[in-house]
């Protein structure tokens, strides 16, 4: 199977922040000798280099669907990345200290895309329930001059208890099948015109739409997942347009008074 290796190598070596880096000993596949390699964790990809200064990774371990376990090995500070499936290889790694081992086990066990998505969905749900309440809707935008924050609602009420997230990944990659959710998740007034209240102050952007109630929990989870991303990205785009417009206005004002 072909992989976009050049892009992978670029991703591994570019200056985007890594989630963990450090030297680890990696046990060979056929022989039991350990080789010291420089490891870089970005997202759900664990790259390893021959040397810290190497320009290209030797290899990469796609972490989706893995579990991370401590090893009962002779080697000190060792741990294993394990995958489900009959002939899957287990990667045995060893850190150089107890602290390093713990740090790697934690960051690797939370590295999957699925895990990130679970946390995002839980936070998005929490945020919406804080703004909208689990039952009622919002009374509308408040004209808070100069403020981007929508008026918080129900602050005295503690957020809903959220389901406990797994700290170790399930073995199977349980990717949800998403619905495309058209229509309802479009932001009102997304045409990009600036909003001003009666005093000419900039009003906060519209609140994200209420999540539609779904009949089943599974359906609601899928809809929530689809809408959570569209909510964030549309908000992001909305804010972005306004910032771009403000900057344009500012530039024009700067140019104005000059002869």
């Amino acid at each position: 199977m072909k992989l976009n290796e050049r892009s992978l190598a670029f991703y591994a070596t570019c200056d985007s922040p890594a989630d963990n880096t450090g030297f680890l000993y990696k046990r060979g596949e056929r022989h039991t000798a350990y080789h010291r390699r420089w490891f870089v964790l970005k997202g759900n990809m664990l790259f390893y280099f021959e040397e810290r200064e190497s320009r290209e990774p030797l290899g990469v371990i796609v972490l989706e669907g893995c579990t991370v376990e401590l090893c009962d090995s002779a080697e000190e500070f060792s741990f294993a990345i394990r995958f489900g499936g009959a002939k899957s290889r287990t990667y045995v790694l060893a850190a150089e200290s107890q602290a390093a081992m713990e740090s790697w086990v934690k960051s690797l066990s939370r590295a999957s895309f699925d895990y990130m998505r679970l946390v995002v969905r839980a936070l998005e749900k929490q945020l919406e329930e804080m703004r909208w309440g689990p039952a009622g809707g919002c009374s509308g935008c408040q004209g808070l001059p100069g403020s981007w924050k929508p008026k918080p609602m129900g602050l005295e009420r503690s957020p809903e208890r959220l389901p406990a997230l797994p700290t170790v990944l399930p073995k199977e990659n349980g990717c949800a099948v998403w619905n495309n959710v058209p229509g309802a998740d479009r932001l009102p007034g997304a045409s990009g015109c600036t909003r001003h209240d009666s005093e000419g102050n900039l009003r906060p952007p519209p609140l994200p739409p209420r999540r539609r109630a779904s009949s089943s929990e599974a359906g609601s989870a899928r809809v929530a997942a689809a809408e959570s991303l569209s909510t964030f990205c549309q908000l992001h785009e909305q804010y972005g347009r306004e910032v771009a417009q403000l900057r344009q206005d500012w530039l024009e004002r700067r140019r104005g008074p000059r002869p």
Binding site: F10, D19, N20, G43, V119, P159, A164, A176, C233
Partner: protein, 159 residues
């Protein structure tokens, strides 16, 4: 570059966020449009010959650009080589827009389009965490014991 092919193949068999038969052209000299089964699973785009169970290839969708080309056509390219484009010709303009929506999130602040990717998810998470913290004064990640996790930090992260 070595990689765990078995696990990637297993990932390719998982339920997709989006899958369809689309005409695809790879950025290789003399290559033509060919019908492929294209499947989006997490931040990978797999492509198969329509009658085969194993994908021909996979694209990791990080640091990539999704561009609308001519009618029914969109392309995927990567930031370090923007002229090397993977082109996809859909059956309809509607299908084309659906795929673009599924793959990209436009970012006016940062310029280039961000694809649906791990990096995008991370920014969403940091955004929501920040919003909730501003509203409640409490860090919502504390209850999961992941507040100190490097990947979820609000400020700029150091390598």
């Amino acid at each position: 570059m070595r990689y765990n092919e078995r696990e990637l193949l297993s990932l390719a068999r998982q339920p997709a966020e989006k899958a369809a038969e689309i005409l695809m052209r790879v950025p290789k000299k003399g290559s033509v449009l060919k019908k492929r089964l294209v499947k989006l699973v997490v931040n990978f785009l797999f492509y198969f010959r329509t009658d085969e169970a194993e994908p021909i290839g996979a694209l990791l969708l990080e640091h990539c650009r999704i561009t609308k080309e001519e009618d029914n056509v969109f392309s995927i390219s990567f930031v370090e080589e923007p002229e090397r484009k993977y082109c996809f010709e859909c059956d309809s303009e509607e299908q084309c827009q659906e795929w673009i929506e599924a793959l990209k999130r436009a970012s006016l602040l940062h310029g280039p389009f961000l694809s649906y990717s791990y990096e995008f998810m991370r920014r969403s998470l940091i955004f929501y965490r920040n919003e909730i913290q501003k509203m409640t004064g409490k860090d919502p990640l504390e209850q999961y014991g992941i507040s100190e996790e490097a990947r979820f930090q609000l400020g700029t992260r150091k390598q």
